[in-house]
């Protein structure tokens, strides 16, 4: 289980989407690391999960940015930049896979990086949204 409750920001919809992201990334890592099954037999499922994750990241970031707009979140531009860099990081690997093939090693490398990026983004950057929401409630 990759998810930790300390990642909660206190906004239910965002938290649910984060949990979904961690769950799917966890499943992806389990699949990529399941060396008892040949890579050939894991490849289709790995591609499918990669597609889903890529799509879900875009969906979640869009949704989260809309939420930030709705609460007049002051750091929205900085946060949008971080989302953009995150998506570019994924896209770079999608290109690598297209050109060099979906090798087990590249998939391992990609899933490991995605894991660290997600932990940092949700564990650090997104926490500031939660802090802002709480500070508004206190001042309201």
């Amino acid at each position: 289980m990759m998810w930790k409750d300390k990642y909660l920001i206190g906004v239910e919809k965002v938290d649910q989407q984060h949990k979904e992201l961690f769950k799917n990334l966890g499943d992806f890592i389990k699949l990529v690391q399941n060396k008892e099954v040949s890579w050939e037999d894991r490849l289709d499922k790995a591609k499918e999960t990669l597609d889903f994750l890529q799509g879900y990241v875009v969906f979640h970031f869009d949704d989260e940015e809309k939420y930030q707009e709705s609460i007049d979140y002051p750091n929205i531009e900085e946060h949008k930049q971080a989302h953009k860099a995150f998506k570019e990081g994924i896209n770079e690997y999608v290109e690598i896979f297209k050109e060099g093939g979906f090798t087990e090693e590249k998939m391992q490398e990609f899933s490991a990086k995605l894991m660290t990026w997600l932990i940092m983004h949700v564990g650090k950057m997104d926490q500031k949204i939660g802090e802002y929401v709480k500070s508004r409630e206190v001042n309201a």
């Binding site: 998810w3 966890g26 690391q33 391992q108 490991a112 990086k113 894991m115 932990i119 940092m120």
Partner: protein, 153 residues
């Protein structure tokens, strides 16, 4: 070698370990060494460019490396494979990035180059035989080193 570098890298390591691994980090006594050899199993080299030019070298023992990735991924790891070494490289990269941000507080503007990962002990790492400052780091899952070689321009 200046306290600013040590403080910047130590603070960044503490922040990243707390956030990503739920671990506290203590600093051991600083050492000065000449020439670098990887004394531990998983090693990461970051290049530094800008106001400071040089190399930062992270060195982790195998057990600790596996445990770190276990904490992040929530699953057991039994060998330093590409998944484990990439995750470790990225943790070092994030520490380096945060340290570079901390260095701006001391008016050093720098950048880091992508991590180079070396798995295996006793490989020598060419740093022109200059002196490097080693910060030993202690956590409850093991000890690791960060060696800093940053001559000022």
């Amino acid at each position: 070698m200046k306290a600013e570098y040590v403080n910047s890298f130590f603070a960044a390591t503490q922040d990243v370990f707390r956030l990503m691994l739920d671990l506290e980090v203590k600093r051991g006594d600083l050492k000065v060494i000449e020439g670098l050899t990887s004394s531990k199993d998983a090693n990461i080299i970051l290049g530094v460019t800008g106001d400071l030019k040089g190399t930062v070298f992270f060195s982790f023992p195998k057990d600790m490396t596996l445990k770190m990735v276990n904490i992040m991924a929530g699953m057991e790891m039994d060998e330093i494979d590409v998944f484990v070494s990439s995750a470790l490289g990225e943790v070092a990269n994030i520490i380096g990035g945060n340290a570079i941000t901390n260095l701006t507080n001391y008016n050093y503007i720098c950048d880091i180059t992508p991590p180079q990962i070396i798995v295996g002990q006793h490989k020598s790492i060419s740093m022109a035989n200059e002196k490097a400052l080693v910060i030993p780091m202690e956590t409850e899952i093991g000890e690791f080193d960060i060696a800093i070689f940053l001559p000022e321009n």
